[in-house]
Amino acid sequence: MPYEFDEIVETIRMTEVEHFDIRTVTLGINLRDCADRNVYVTKQKIYDKIMKYGESHVKFANEVENKYGVAIANKRISVTPISNVGDSFQADEFVEIAKTLDKAAIEMGIDYIAGYSALVQKGFTKGEYQLVKSIPAALSETKRVCSSVNVGSTKSGINIDAVNMVSEVIKETAERTKENDSIGCAKLVVFCNAVEDNPFVAGAFHGVSEPEVVLNVGISGPGVVLYAIKEAGAVSMQQLAEVIKKTVFKITRAGELIGRKVAERHNVPFGIVDISLAPTPAPGDSIADILQAMGVEYVGAPGTTAALAMLNDCVKKAGLMASSSVGGMSGAFIPVSEDAGMIYAAEKGYLSLEKLEAMTAVCSVGLDMIAIPGDTPATTIAGIIADESAIGMINDKTTAVRVIPAYGKKVGDYVDYGGLLGKAPIMRVRELRCDNFVLRGGRIPAPMRSLTN
């Protein structure tokens, strides 16, 4: 037998017991050639193009899933930032395009389509301004469309005007979707240093430097890492790092294989494998559990940030060795509502917004799926976004904010979406104000780090 007995049994254990799965295979489609000054023509072109490439996406992914016995949790589509496709449109026309994307997603049988986005870190074009303005309507009138706005980058600083506008947009989206616990906000990500090849929805979009069509894959597998750490027992930090790296190496290899095979069936180039550890609300599929297994009592305890930094670094190192096509976010995600351990720590009050902010400085992405009181002022949300963007800008990394100011709810209440989005307790936000700071407007200049040439 060319493979050892233990190797085969280990693989089966990973896929069957420890929830190892491919979190998403995301087909990125360029829509720039769909631009037209007539919105009806644009809509038709967008629909036709997405259906042409995406029609068999679910079927191909299912075939590969069966062949290798590794589940693919989500099949998704990302498109060119819609603001680039329809720069001449008004807000209501953008909403029409959002509905077209929604329709295409329903026909294809996928749960989310992402790329209702604008990149405004240095300033707005007319179209980008209209698109951001249209987000509350677009997200409340569609179910499957996801939106993102990039408000800052290391190279260009932070556009505080955009931060202020997006904060108002978040509040309005929360109000418009109040019947469903403000679910619209769960589909809106505010980025600093957004990446162009991220396969993970809601923040995915098909960047302008990407090819015509490309297939990116995001792996998952906190459960596998958790098992390995538990199995390792009381070992030193270096030994623990080894254990994590070995495990992540294997799942990255499997992830790349799956991605390449799905791309092969589509007959499109394979893009990247994003080696992020992405949790789900299922028991055992949790980043918080990993940190606890590493030795902190609960997430939020002193030591949490260090443990997360080490975990994140090991994931990157192993992934980089395992594949030559690593990209996207590639780290550990810490969404609160999608991780049972994080939910518990937030409920108990072990985990505060401030601790989460510190954690985001050392892991991929940022303040993710955090529910805050519905009466949080827009300027306070702007302050949170500015803080998080500053971490990204200065450290030359991607950071994001996906907060849900749950309409009509206060600390102690819950938002509950079920499924992958999970449920989250409303977390306390400090009542101190920052109006006089954020309302200055303008742009925080690009930092020292931007001058690398």
């Binding site: 060319p2 493979y3 693989t11 089966i12 062949k67 294997k250 499997a254």
Partner: protein
């Protein structure tokens, strides 16, 4: 075999270039048939080099008489070649790993998986079939 839109265009362009103004229905038919043969040949070649038909079958469960025989009977009915087999019994638990080759089988991997699911239900053992490439990628560099 399904031809993509691009391939169809390619075939049409070849015919136009080669025939120019001399096209008759007969000549068009000939040239298209020739192009199609070429495409089919190329597809066959890539298929052979890319896809080995080797699949790892793993079965777990409470040990009982007839497990190995039911599985191997079903595989032989499907004309699958058993390349290697390894089996362990730990306490009352039975584990078997087989490497099989389904290249010559008229059935697809999906069909064989469906057959195994039936055995799996009747004998109360778990049977997984996974293409060899998964293990090759995870454990061999």
């Amino acid at each position: 075999m399904i031809l993509s839109e691009e391939k169809l265009r390619e075939v049409a362009v070849t015919a136009i270039n080669e025939l120019g103004t001399k096209a008759t229905p007969e000549l068009v038919k000939n040239i298209i048939e020739k192009s199609l043969e070429k495409i089919e040949g190329a597809a066959k070649e890539t298929k052979q080099t890319q896809n080995s038909g080797r699949v790892i079958l793993t079965a777990f469960g409470i040990n009982q008489p007839g497990v190995v025989s039911s599985i191997s009977q079903s595989l032989s009915d499907a004309n699958c070649d058993i390349l290697d087999i390894s089996q362990k019994i730990m306490q009352e638990f039975f584990t078997m790993i087989m490497m099989i080759d389904i290249t010559n089988s008229p059935k697809s991997l999906k069909d064989i998986q469906d057959d195994m699911n039936k055995i799996s239900e009747s004998l109360k053992v778990k049977i997984y079939l996974q293409h060899e490439d998964l293990f090759k990628n995870m454990y061999r560099i």
